[in-house]
């Protein structure tokens, strides 16, 4: 990856271009179509949210982009261009040079994501020693600074501690520090707050956001929680059953959402203005089986607006606005939508 390292670091323009990415797992029960033709791009320094229920392919998407998945029994297709370099055909050795250096990842469960038998300091220094060839003393100095940056009190003391001596929030801060160590140009955060206390969640999200801005680092924030992406992203991808079904800038997604699925996700968030003891509107049913996805629109079996057309013809992504795409035959605001809203006793047009 000498080209990447010596190349002039452009801080504007396209950083990541994902084209028709496919990741299927070959299992005993059949082929699981976890990621099924995903296309999007991400500019330098931009923050992208990937939302969807559990099991709709968000995590696999993030790992497929990095190339972190196992080799065996995996079908991959499509292309991932990272700063103009194709990642999908790259050797493992070359990808290892990018991981942690150019692209970094933090995970859902900080309790299990740190090595339990290695001192915190050593784990944090590892990417520095591998990618930048830092000396032990040099790496230590950088690590102490990193710990301070992510808001860890007494960095000197933490350096020689083990993961089990720290709280969940602290461990996630350590994970963030580890990801930041080599100054990557994109950070993948896979449900970074799901395993944390509610009180700590906001702190961690703010920390990620601050660090992204400070380091001009792009962010891919994977979450099932629309509330999390609302305040911390520029653009949102909504995924369902391995496919992108809606893409929009964050503000217009919330004000002008097109997909019934997005609407359903949105309605399942408790709102402050609701009177207490209001029942949450849950989405009926479960995400589809990815071995045999439903025909037509994959959301149709759970969609209140679905018609026969939805159950037979799969909708293509279409543009509502140049930067707002959706894949639906009866989007929010359509005649069919209003009709069903009325029959459900809701006032069409109001959320």
């Amino acid at each position: 990856m000498s080209t990447l390292q010596t190349a002039f670091r452009r801080r504007t323009g396209t950083l990541l271009r994902v084209e028709d990415l496919v990741t299927h797992f070959v299992t005993a029960g059949g082929v699981v179509r976890a990621v099924d033709g995903v296309t999007f791009s991400l500019d330098h320094g931009k923050r992208l949210g990937v939302v969807g229920e559990s099991g709709c392919g968000k995590t696999i998407l993030a790992r497929s982009i990095m190339g972190l998945l196992p080799h065996r029994n995996v079908i991959r297709q499509g292309s991932v261009l990272f700063e103009g370099t194709e990642l999908t055909t790259m050797s493992l050795k070359d990808r290892q040079k990018i991981w942690g250096a150019e692209m970094a990842m933090i995970f859902q469960d900080p309790m299990t994501s740190l090595n339990p038998v290695m001192k915190i300091g050593k784990q944090l220094a590892e990417p520095l020693r591998i990618h930048l060839g830092s000396s032990r003393e040099n790496a230590r100095a950088i690590v102490l600074k990193l710990l301070e940056d992510v808001g860890i009190p007494e960095p000197e003391k933490r350096f020689d501690q083990y993961a089990h001596e720290l709280s969940g929030g602290m461990r996630q801060r350590i994970m963030i520090a580890m990801a930041l160590a080599c100054g990557p140009s994109v950070l993948f955060a896979d449900e970074p707050t799901t395993a944390l206390d509610v009180t700590v969640q906001a702190q961690i999200l703010d920390l990620i956001e601050d660090q992204c801005r400070e380091r001009e680092m792009a962010l891919v924030l994977v979450t099932h929680d629309l509330g999390v992406v609302a305040g911390h992203t520029d653009q949102i991808i909504v995924m369902y059953a391995g496919k992108i079904i809606e893409v929009a800038p964050t503000a217009s997604l919330f004000s002008k959402m097109k997909m019934p699925y997005t609407e359903a996700l949105f309605q399942s968030i408790p709102k402050l203005e609701d009177p207490s003891h209001t029942r949450l509107t849950a989405i009926g049913g479960r995400p589809p089986n990815l071995i045999l996805p439903p025909e037509g629109c994959r959301f149709s079996p759970r969609c209140p607006y679905a018609t026969d057309k939805c159950r037979t013809i799969e909708p293509e992504l279409q543009a509502a606005e140049p930067d707002h795409l959706y894949a639906c035959h009866h989007p929010v605001g359509s005649d069919r939508w209003s009709e069903v809203q009325v029959s459900l006793g809701r006032r069409p047009g109001g959320h």
Partner: protein
């Protein structure tokens, strides 16, 4: 430190229990006195010598007093002589221990040197060709009785090809390194192969578990190379079963390699114990048992300490 002291306390209790039981055991042997006299050669000694001998063994004292004398003799190293041949028991045991310790150390080292790299590679490509191949072989070695292995290897390597002496002699390493190697090679291999099979199976399955942990994904995501993930991140947390099994085998090999010692004519501790039992050398057997118990207890103590190094969480007692 507290952990250390607690383990030390347990050690003292075990040593007490073993010495006490061993001391009492003599009283439970039917016709112990007669057997001792017989072993000495009853026709050859007169009544006075007989009484002197029995007195020196304190057989007619009350149980607790017997135990007192036994521990006293143990601690002051006044272990007496064998009934047959008047060899000091201490030198018999130390000669045997020297051979047995060598066999144990060589066997364990060879077993670990074979098992660890094989297990790491098998776990890394689990289900692959090497994994299946090594699984077959390790089960083969585990299930082959060691007298079969000793006989077959002995036949091939000493009788047919004459690479090694058929009867091993205890040659010190510093006296003649090459002879030492040729004399200990076969017994070591016969001890090591079944052990290596067991160790490989244990470590392989623990490693496969560890490699599925989240922290391994973290290490991969920060660009750690594959060998470094295997040996730097995954190996250490996977060593628990292996260390436990190896520790149990330390004691078992020192006292229990009777078959191998007999097959290669090495007068180790195990063989001396078995011969001692047949010859009614009760005192020799008693003291050997205590020595072996000490070996067991000491290795277990060291292993408990080692657990603390393997996983810092053990030190605060979360895992036990």
């Amino acid at each position: 430190m507290k952990y250390f002291l607690r383990k030390l306390g347990q050690l003292v209790i075990v040593v007490f229990a073993v010495t006490f039981t061993v001391s009492l055991a003599l009283g439970a042997i039917p016709y112990a006195e007669e057997r001792i006299i017989a072993a000495k050669g009853s026709g050859a000694i007169n009544e006075e010598e007989k009484n002197k001998l029995l007195d020196s063994l304190n057989l007619r004292e009350p149980t607790l007093v017997q135990y007192g004398y036994f521990v006293g003799d143990l601690v002051t190293l006044d272990w007496g002589v064998t009934l047959n041949g008047n060899q000091p028991i201490s030198s018999s045991i130390s000669d045997g221990l020297k051979i047995s310790l060598r066999l144990m150390i060589y066997g364990q080292l060879v077993a670990l040197l074979l098992a660890i790299p094989a297990a790491v590679f098998a776990a890394y490509r689990s289900g692959g060709l090497f994994d299946r191949f090594s699984t077959t072989f390790s089960f083969g070695f585990i299930s082959t009785p060691n007298y079969v292995l000793a006989t077959v290897l002995g036949l091939l390597l000493t009788v047919r090809w004459k690479l090694f002496p058929a009867i091993s002699t205890d040659v010190g390493f510093f006296e003649a390194p090459w002879d030492h190697f040729t004399n200990f090679f076969l017994p070591t291999i016969v001890l090591a192969l079944p052990l290596a099979g067991t160790y490989m199976r244990l470590l392989r399955s623990d490693l496969i578990n560890t490699l599925q942990s989240d922290f391994i994904t973290t290490a991969r995501a920060k660009g750690v190379s594959t060998p470094r993930i295997l040996f730097g991140h995954a190996l250490r947390p996977s060593l628990f079963s292996l260390v436990t099994a190896a520790a149990v085998n330390v004691g078992a090999l020192v006292g229990g390699s009777v078959v191998v010692e007999t097959a290669f004519n090495l007068n180790g501790l195990g063989r001396r114990t078995v011969l001692g039992i047949f010859a009614s050398e009760f005192r020799l057997v008693q003291i050997t048992v205590v020595v072996l118990a000490l070996v067991y207890v000491m290795t277990n103590f060291l292993v408990d300490i080692l657990y603390g190094f393997l996983d810092p969480r053990v030190r605060v007692g979360r895992l036990g």
